[in-house]
Structures are given as structure tokens and as C-alpha cells.
Symmetry: C2
Subunit: 136 residues, 2 copies
Amino acid sequence: MRVKWDCEHIEAVVDQLDFSKLNGLVTVITQDWHTNEILMCAFANRDAILQSLTTGLATYYSRSQNRLWQKGETSGHIQEIKEIYIDCDDDTVLFKVEQKVAACHKGYRSCFYRRLNENGELDLVREKVFDPSEVY
Amino acid sequence: MRVKWDCEHIEAVVDQLDFSKLNGLVTVITQDWHTNEILMCAFANRDAILQSLTTGLATYYSRSQNRLWQKGETSGHIQEIKEIYIDCDDDTVLFKVEQKVAACHKGYRSCFYRRLNENGELDLVREKVFDPSEVY
């Protein structure tokens, strides 16, 4: 089941947030509802938060494309929102989600699939779960 | 034991990162090394990353004060870095840390101590672990 909010309460949710520090955006961290693995980090404007709340599907704002972006709109790898937390200074949102297939467009479940080693190099520490060339 | 990098490799680490999207900053998510709880979200410039790497202690850039800020410099609630991950597009860093006492200046272990309920209100879902008036 997705978490959704009805229209009556949506403004109250959005009014909690401080969009002023990043020119109309808040940071969004997306975490796996089951494992607490961090899946991705992105940004949302007011409309992206509203769409997330009304659909129950994580929706972000793409800075590179200047538009709303529902996660999974191309790949089908949607994120059903289970819980929403807001941080102490109201400028970061945490979505806990049920992730379909994978969050990362590079084929990994999480965007954080590389870990720094002591030589300053990035080690691949996760397995690919899909082939991006077949999805995008 | 803290993770540290020696001078020889530091530039290689910093050169992995893309500071261009947020005017010289990257987003940093800080996660509890033991429980995977998300503790906080902040920003770092190049110097903050360098200081984090050489000291092994999480150091951020304060946008409000325009200066480096080593977490715990006032409170003693330092964060020893255990692992560092970088996301797929190189603009977000994940510190996995050993958190002393608590991450949030409001007295909670995590800054994400409030969860949205179906009425659009924030419920307090964590217990305070210290009294901020005695620490700051």
C-alpha cells in the first residue's frame, strides 16, 4: 500500500518545508523501506513534493532538464512511498520507499555502488541487477 | 579506528567529485555505520572533503556561517568516518560513521526525528538523547 495524502492536508505538508535555501528546492534522500539502504539523493521543488504526496510515488525535480521527474517513468522502476520524514531544519526530506527493481540508472539497486579505498580509488562494491541498455 | 587518507592520494579522491552543480558544494549524507540510520544531511566544499579525509572526522561546509564546520567541534559529538561512498553522478557523498552521542543539535540521535502523519502533521518518533541547553 502506498502512502497518500488527500487534498485537504497537502498544503499543511508542503508548508512545513523550507525551499528557500536551494532556490526553490529541498534535498530528498531516498532509503529502502526494508533494508535502510540509501538508494539515491535528488531534489524536489514544491510541485514535486505535491505530486509525490498525491500519487504516493516518489517524484523529483530534474535540475538538468528543468522538469518534474517521476522516478520510474521510463524504466518502470517506481518508488512507492511508505514513510516521509523531515529533518530538524525543514530543508531535507527522507522518503522511505518500496523500490521496484532498482534506483540507479546505471543498473545498480543503489546509486551508491562505489566505495573509496585507501588509495583514493573507487571500488565497485555492488552487483548490477539490470542492464541499462535494455531499459533506457 | 578512523579511516584516513594520506596526502599522496587525497587529490585523487577530491578529483572524483563534481562540485559544479551546487556552486562548489557536494551533498553529504551521513549514515550510522552500525544501524544504517540516516543521521543528517549537509554540504561539503573541496576543503571540507579534504579535512574529512585527513582527520577521519566528518567535516562540512556551513552555508549560513560560510565556514568549515567539523561536526562535534562544540558538542564533542564527533563522527568518525568508517566508509565513504560516492554516487553515480559524483555529486553526492555518503559518509558511514561512528556517531558519538548524537548527530542532531536538537538533542536527537538523527535529524530525522519527525515523521509526517496522514493529516500532514509531524509526529515526534524518536526520543531525545541529550539536553541541548546543557551542550551548546
